[in-house]
Symmetry: C2
Subunit: 707 residues, 2 copies
């Protein structure tokens, strides 16, 4: 879908198909809103029942229109919408918003009708928005092309543009953010069932739209989710922040998959991976949209995550520290030099440690603010400042704002303010801050949260720079693809591990045998003790079939174990295809982890990493990334799990070979990309991570080809 | 401290000591605020410099006052505050607020001066508030006895009373909640360094104060934290909700303790335990105070945690579901009967599942709302309703509010509304809701969060009822106390476990021996294989000393192991006091957990439970409760840890003996109470939880007496 959406948001003419003289109904509202908000283009209501509506000439049909409108609003019953859309197509209309409901959301006939709509749009290469949506509002161009309560009000144009899959709620967000939060929107569109122009298409448009500074998006689910990473990274490259609100975590149905990786990789895990990999900022409430938009407006990005807190109230300093630390920032010690400077400035009953408490003494000496701010800004350990002014108001507030703005104008470190005075009591002060785009918040919690969002975005930019310098891993093993096409059943351990070895991933030394004598010979070659396991695509649960023996330590024992395993396997499933018995080295001293691939129908291949056993399965302490991942991202994945301390040598253990582990993650991700047309799921469980310098070894593996 | 604080909040007369004619300064403000807000009692400024201030007669000294004031405000320099307090004491003044700074917060001389203040207050049995605080504001009685920006404004009186340890920030909360949030406060006080009347004293007062319906508290740290549980439970018994904002999580210093329990039991863990055990609701921002206060005003408590969601916008329904589920509520299936009823009401393109989507069809048929609400309310699977009205406004909004209030008046199930219309566009509708105390919120997230707070409070009430019906475990083992007084060093495993056995907690079968021959005999008695460990109060880390042998399985091996252990122990520490070698059964098939006691200097004894090893130590997946705990609370502790599935039989394992485990937690808590004057720390690590019906066994234990 590559329509120029600039024309959609700024149509020179609009046809309103099914317009009604009953201006309060859904079909009556759009024309009313366009007229009352002074739409500057040409309007063509279409309805054979009327001569005119609101003094605008009404046409009997689309064919009868005197020109081809840039945009058509389709407001008629779903049963006739396709017919109207076709007429629009014939007329050469480029964009149509279908407001009508009664499509896939009702099932049955609705699904067919929706397919028909999509087919018509494709036939005429029309950009279709909806169906089942509430339209578009371009505040910057006075285009109020939709219905709903919020359309009755006029909106100031700002620099935030938003696309929402929910109509009613999406417009509520814009309304509250703009009217109560003072954050103004530029272009706002709802996409409903989204059969044509998609959420990501609109985001691409906003990235290119010079007037948009911040992009907001409300997502229920993306049908073209595989594009999310690329689109997000393009926005990151343009330094245009995307605030994403993703809902639907609790309603998604459970999936039944063979591997842990696929079971744990629910939609939300992959959305979050894509968000993280492309610097998209997650929001969780309307207030976040407001607060973060203000944060990004400041135009400054912290160089690191170290924040100095300056407060006039000790209690709020503690609160701000909590909030910053909880959200991944550091509240570092100030340098000795700064502390010395502060000793001369801050009263004895204040605090010259971070958080710096200048106390209510500012009532007596205003210059305290400026001198403290300057000293702290000059500290090389400080990347950003959060200052708390409690409820200071009136003239005092104004004078403090003068001090702050004077300093802020001369630094590239962000200064954020928590200032609880109500608007009417600090109007002059707030106006000074707003003029310099200095973000200020009523609560220290909101302030800390917003600063952390900015800081996290800055960190994403730094990570992205690092990533772009790295080599993206690429592997080709063409022979495997051929095998995967042929062997479409679950691959047993030995063959799955041979595939891993093909991609350079360490595996246990092992030999597949079909006689007891060969088993003994294999065990001698590998060295005692060994492990014996049956190999059969029909017996994925080898232990359950009593077809695994650990720590077998003599020739006699191996021969006995071989016979027993074969007997048990046959008893377990008489017609199982037995490939043989795998004789394998016993791995000692490794930490058990799990590394896997899920090939999501929407996102494509993703990699999962976690500690083995309960950590992944019970605690869900795992990290996901969309493939491919570079080395630095693999390290992030390892760091991200709560149990990562175990790999670094917690509880007196030797540190594990994290370097080799990261290498394995990178290779598995390259394998996932190489095999994305053929591989459904892969679990390496356990992947033994040996002590530093000794590498990793896949202890067992499960590989599921695509059907 | 048992002062009648009613008199403090409603003094008949107030002395303002150190009052200044410079009305903008800290010492000038209080008299100004009292006068300008029409304080109805008698005012006595005290300052030898003036004849009068603001037309009020000024006195040269406290002695010169014509009567004993009920309350004194002390606004003079810290160096002279004690002297003034003494004069107040001699005059018979019952309450004094010391505003002055320069006490413990500056250290050194300040600490001494603070002690002096406390001594004077004690001598005259005066209720002292502060020092280093911003005073009190009783909106219900027009007593504005403090300083700061917020005192320049008048406040409507409401039903929320608050005590805050932070002055500036505490008043900011009141100001924003009242003016922007519409939640009005009754009595508000700040306690600063809190050397006299404490936060908990004020909470006790608010519990008894008939005009207070909701109590809010901002806590940095309680010096009388041991009272928190009792005070919280008294509030719970009176059904008076406490909203607690506890800060200072990230700044608390790390403690170095011998046991994991004490290391993990930082202040915040114990505060949260006390909150949970007494139904205190934690808040995290100003908006929570506003939102939850509104929730509690509704006067209805859900009977369970099952919420039905009704929405006019599908998208917001998903969002609300996410929020409710994330906060521990259920969004259950509606009964077949309800679904049938809804099928006849809700349009085909809506949803008759929970969340129920009535769609924008309400524009055409308003009765949809009433009929849907009634059908869902009648469902026995539903305990509360969250309804989402998007941005509906104007006359339509008013008509919908009429429908909702008519239904709400006739049900005892709470109905909460997410309604995003701005105040000025739905004034009549909101007024109708407010008149019936129906909580409404601008965002579905806030609405879900507030309903979950109410639901969680109702659950606390139910839990408390259950607890009150249970037997509180009590154990007395007087002999142990005598031993603990004598043996003040760390107890070695065997003696620690004997103490556990005294309280009826299962331990491994074991025999302490001092010769190799006795070891062999012991092993035969216990049955092979056995474990051998050195026992010495000087060797807490037995493995490090190479003085542990596992799985010893023959007479010869036992004798050899005995000699080796003794040799290694002596090599490890030549002068170690060796109590002998412990011969112990090998426990098989149990799940390793950790159960411990920390005897906190502020809170008293608390119990900790978690899974063993990395779960507790690396992931900090543990639960705490203040002792004693009853059986139902012990079960909660087990359920609360993320790894609890392991005990219930995750990954195909047999379910563990949870009943016996809960019993052990109860007994350990009784032990903690019995020994609270003598015991500092206790770790049972591991505590083996055997399969169902087989009990628990302490595998090792560490007991640290109080010094």
């Amino acid at each position: 879908m590559h329509h120029d959406l600039e024309r959609f948001f700024n149509p020179r003419s609009i046809a309103v198909i099914g317009a009604s003289q009953d201006l309060i109904t859904i079909s009556g509202q759009p024309l009313h809103h366009l007229v009352s908000h002074h739409y500057a283009g040409r309007l063509y209501p279409v309805n054979p029942k009327y001569q005119e509506i609101l003094g605008v000439k009404c046409y009997a049909s689309i064919e009868a229109l005197p020109e081809t409108p840039d945009l058509a609003l389709i407001l008629i019953n779903s049963s006739r919408a396709a017919e109207m859309l076709r007429a629009c197509g014939k007329k050469g209309v480029r964009f149509a918003i279908v407001f009508s409901s009664g499509y896939s959301e009702v099932g049955g006939r609705g699904i067919e009708m929706q397919r028909e709509l999509a087919a018509v749009a494709a036939e005429f290469d029309m950009g279709i928005i909806g169906p089942n949506c509430q339209g578009m509002l371009n505040a910057a161009g006075n285009v109020y092309a939709g219905f709903g309560s919020v359309f009755f009000t006029a909106y100031d144009a700002g620099a935030v543009s938003m696309v929402s899959q929910s109509g009613g709620f999406g417009f509520s967000v814009m309304n509250l953010a703009s009217k109560d939060g003072g954050v103004h929107f530029r272009q706002m569109v709802t996409t409903g069932n989204e059969i044509g122009v998609s959420t990501l298409d609109f985001i691409e448009h906003f990235i290119d739209d010079a007037g948009t500074e911040v992009i907001a998006v409300y997502i229920e689910g993306l049908k073209d989710a595989h594009r999310l990473l690329k689109v997000g990274r393009r926005a990151l490259a343009q330094k245009k922040p995307i605030l994403a609100w993703k809902v639907g975590n609790s309603v998604q149905g459970a999936r039944a998959a063979a591997s842990h990786t696929a079971n744990l990789g629910g939609a939300m895990a992959l959305y979050q991976a894509a968000f993280r990999q492309s610097g998209i900022i997650q929001v969780e409430d309307i207030q976040d949209v407001v607060d973060y938009s203000r944060a990004f407006r400041c135009g400054k990005l912290p160089k690191g995550n170290r924040v100095a807190i300056i407060t006039v109230s000790g209690g709020a300093g503690i609160l701000m520290t909590d909030e910053c630390v909880a959200r991944g920032m550091q509240v570092p010690q100030l340098s000795a030099e700064t502390t010395e400077k502060l000793r001369a400035i801050v009263p004895a009953f204040g605090s010259i440690q971070n958080p710096v408490d200048v106390t209510a003494a500012i009532f007596n000496d205003l210059s305290l603010i400026r001198r403290t701010l300057q000293a702290v800004l000059d500290d090389p350990n400080v990347d950003a400042i959060a200052m708390i002014n409690a409820s200071l108001q009136g003239e005092l507030a104004d004078n403090i704002a003068i001090e702050i703005t004077a300093i802020a104008a001369q630094t590239d470190k962000p200064i954020f303010l928590a200032w609880s005075a109500r608007d009417e009591l600090a109007r002059a002060a707030y106006a000074r801050l707003d003029a310099l785009k200095i973000p200020h918040y009523k609560s220290p919690v909101r302030c800390g949260r917003a600063l952390a969002a900015l800081s996290s975005y800055a960190a994403s930019l730094r990570r992205e720079e690092l990533r772009l310098e790295e080599t993206v891993p690429v592997c080709f093993v063409p022979a495997l693809k051929t095998q995967l096409v042929v062997k479409r059943y679950d691959w047993s351990e030995h063959f799955a591990k041979q595939a891993l070895a093909d991609y350079g991933i360490g595996v246990t030394r092992e030999i597949l045998v079909s006689t007891a004598a060969a088993a003994v010979e294999a065990a001698r070659t590998l060295g005692y003790p060994v492990v014996l396991k049956v190999q059969s695509p029909d017996i994925p649960h080898k232990t359950e079939a009593r077809a695994v023996r650990l720590g077998v330590d003599s020739d006699t024992a191996v021969a006995l174990a071989f016979d027993e395993i074969m007997r048990n396997a046959q008893a377990y499933q008489a017609d199982a295809r037995i490939e043989g018995v795998l004789v394998q080295e016993m791995v000692a001293g490794g930490i058990e982890t799990i590394l896997g691939v899920t090939n999501d129908p929407l996102f494509g291949p993703a990699v999962m990493f976690g500690l083995g056993g309960i950590f992944a399965e019970v605690l869900h302490d795992v990290s996901f990334r969309l493939a491919p991942v570079t080395y630095s991202v693999a390290l992030e994945m390892i760091d991200e799990i709560k149990g990562s301390a175990v790999l670094k040598g917690a509880r007196g253990a030797a540190p594990a070979d994290i370097d080799a582990l990261a290498g394995a993650i990178v290779r598995v991700s390259a394998m996932a990309v190489d095999l994305q047309d053929h591989l459904a799921e892969l679990d390496i469980n356990p992947l033994f991570v040996l002590p530093k310098g000794q590498g990793v070894k896949a202890g067992d593996a499960l590989l599921k080809p695509k059907n």
